[in-house]
């Protein structure tokens, strides 16, 4: 089995990432908590925001605020342009073929719900199947469970091996004439596994099955090209890729989007309304009812400018090195067990420490100014699969450093002292 590596193209000679300079772009990274410099290792929950994003939000409310679309006055036209520019930047960033394929939503969760509620509800019939994987976030499980329940369809789950990789032979076997949709995480938030998506999408397409990708944990760590992947839908959240909360993107191939019924009804999503009949708007507005999240949309535009300007070859190289270092350092702790040891990983290290409960570990690390997440990470089936009640998850971004990893290791030393 040849795993497709997002890092395979990394040439040996890259200009190293100037992390100290990048860290200065993020005001919160200069702060202290509990009297210690903040060591922020909870990036999979949400990333920190660079100053340019914070400034864009402030600028909008201070000098640009107006409702957009259909306004004839200066501010409305300005806001509309900034908001629509963000859409073009998103199109460019994920290399979508057409700007109309970028639908603004609240985030990954809403993007997946949109597809389940429109495409799913209109295409699924009794006896049909939706295929997801055993490493999905609850947001890529529950919407499918809901629509399957309603349409009397069945939810099928691709199993994981002990390392946290999908078993592709099983996946291939489970793709059947009854399968109407495949929905997969690009990167697992609980295990860090990077799935061989391009290959998995081709396998589904060979049987005529569309594929939705939950890209929430991929965009912060790698450049994604939706045309190269050939996915049918791709959902992601701005707040996990250095942008504001409350905005995200659902990408969909226009032929599919065109065919789908609208999601919510209201203003903006219509061409004309009479009490007898409503003519729906064109893409992407057909799926964007009501006043959108203008401020965060515009700040997302600033986010996209920021991430677009990063040297992604250097970022991926740096993050891989950091993750390798962290894995090595943590593996040296005797009672520590890594949960998720896939060959291709990004951004996440999950672990348990002997019989010490993750919650206690999280509290002690917090006293050292170290922010990690403890719990089931909205992926309870993953916890069940590896027979742990919860894990500690350290998740990284390009602004994290090896000395922060060292702080984490020292913090775990403190935990072991307390529970000696």
């Amino acid at each position: 089995m040849i795993a497709q590596s997002p890092f395979a193209q990394t040439p040996s000679k890259t200009i190293p990432l100037d992390v100290e300079r990048l860290r200065r772009d993020f005001p919160i990274l200069q702060t202290s908590v509990r009297g210690k410099p903040l060591v922020y290792l909870d990036n999979a929950a949400t990333t920190q925001k660079p100053r340019v994003v914070i400034d864009a939000l402030r600028r909008y409310y201070e000098a640009q605020n107006a409702n957009i679309h259909r306004g004839v006055h200066y501010l409305s036209e300005l806001g509309t342009k900034l908001y629509e520019d963000a859409r073009l930047k998103a199109q460019d960033f994920i290399h979508a073929a057409d700007w109309r394929e970028i639908i603004f939503v609240r985030g990954t969760t809403e993007g997946i719900n949109l597809v389940a509620a429109t495409y799913g509800r209109s295409k699924l019939n009794e006896g049909d199947e939706v295929l997801i994987s055993g490493m999905e976030h609850h947001s890529n499980i529950v919407p499918w469970q809901m629509v399957c329940g309603e349409r009397k369809a069945t939810l099928k789950v691709v199993p994981l091996n002990d390392n946290g990789e999908l078993v592709l032979e099983e996946y291939d076997r489970m793709l059947s004439s009854r399968t109407k949709m495949v929905a997969l995480a690009h990167v697992s938030n609980a295990l860090g596994t990077v799935n061989p998506l391009k290959r998995m999408i081709a396998m589904a397409h060979a049987k005529g099955i569309p594929v939705l990708v939950d890209g929430a944990q991929a965009l912060p760590h790698m450049k994604v090209d939706v045309q190269d992947l050939d996915c049918d839908f791709y959902a992601f959240s701005a707040h996990k890729m250095y942008g504001p909360t409350g905005i995200g993107v659902l990408y969909g191939k226009s032929a599919l989007l065109q065919d789908m019924p609208p999601y919510q009804g209201g203003g903006d999503m219509i061409k004309s309304v009479t009490f007898e009949k409503t003519l729906f708007n064109d893409l992407p507005y057909k799926f964007e009812a009501g006043t959108p999240n203008i401020a965060d949309g515009i700040a997302f535009g600033a986010t996209l400018d920021y991430v677009q300007a990063l040297d992604w070859t250097a970022v991926m190289h740096y993050e891989r090195d950091l993750l390798d270092y962290a894995t090595e350092q943590l593996s040296g702790i005797k009672s520590l067990r890594l949960i998720g040891t896939a060959r291709e990983k990004a951004g996440v290290i999950s672990f348990v420490l002997g019989t010490i409960h993750p919650h206690d570990i999280g509290t002690i690390l917090d006293q050292e100014g170290i922010a990690v997440r403890t719990g089931h990470h909205c992926a309870q089936p993953v916890m069940i699969r590896y027979d742990v009640p919860a894990t500690v998850r350290a998740s990284f971004a390009f602004y994290n450093t090896k000395s922060e990893v060292d702080a984490l290791v020292r913090g775990i030393g403190k935990v072991l002292e307390v529970f000696a």
Binding site: R34, H357, H359, T363, H376, P389, V418, F419
Partner: protein, 152 residues
């Protein structure tokens, strides 16, 4: 500062009860058993009671969770055995005031015994639910609740 607060949370008594929990067993012939769980962190215990009229004749618990929740369940089990329902409920109330940092508590810590070790929890709002899970579950059992108790 941080180290002091940690020590006040993870007191020796708490660490010891976590390591060697008392009355940590399923009770086959219990009169009531109620499950309690914290959906946020997965802490999950069952509390078993044997009652004689109004008196808690025997109490045990089983399950898993963090050190705070387990030690609290253990200490609780030692404190309520032989007490009446009313006395147990009154202890719960005082314990709750203690871990939520209600003023005027420190004056009357003496008669709280091992429960006083949980005073440090009030400095850690995220852990109050851990400390009180077993007590909420006990409360459910005393009221003969049929459904599981959750902290949410």
């Amino acid at each position: 500062m941080a180290a002091d607060e940690l020590r006040s949370l993870y007191q020796e008594i708490i660490l010891e009860h976590n390591k060697n929990p008392r009355n940590f067993r399923t009770m086959e012939d219990s009169d009531v058993s109620v499950e309690g769980y914290n959906p946020l962190c997965g802490d999950h215990y069952t509390v078993y009671l044997k009652l004689e009229g109004d008196v808690v004749k025997d109490v045990s618990f089983k399950g898993s969770g963090c050190a705070i929740s387990k030690a609290s369940a253990s200490v609780m089990s030692t404190m309520v055995k032989g007490r009446t329902k009313q006395e147990a409920e009154a202890l719960f109330e005082r314990f709750h005031d203690l871990v939520t940092g209600k003023p005027g508590q420190s004056a009357s810590l003496d008669d709280l015994g091992s429960l006083a070790a949980f005073a440090g929890v009030s400095e850690f709002p995220a852990r109050v639910k851990c400390a009180s899970l077993a007590w909420h579950t006990l409360h459910g059992a005393l009221e003969n609740k049929q459904e599981a108790i959750t902290t949410e």
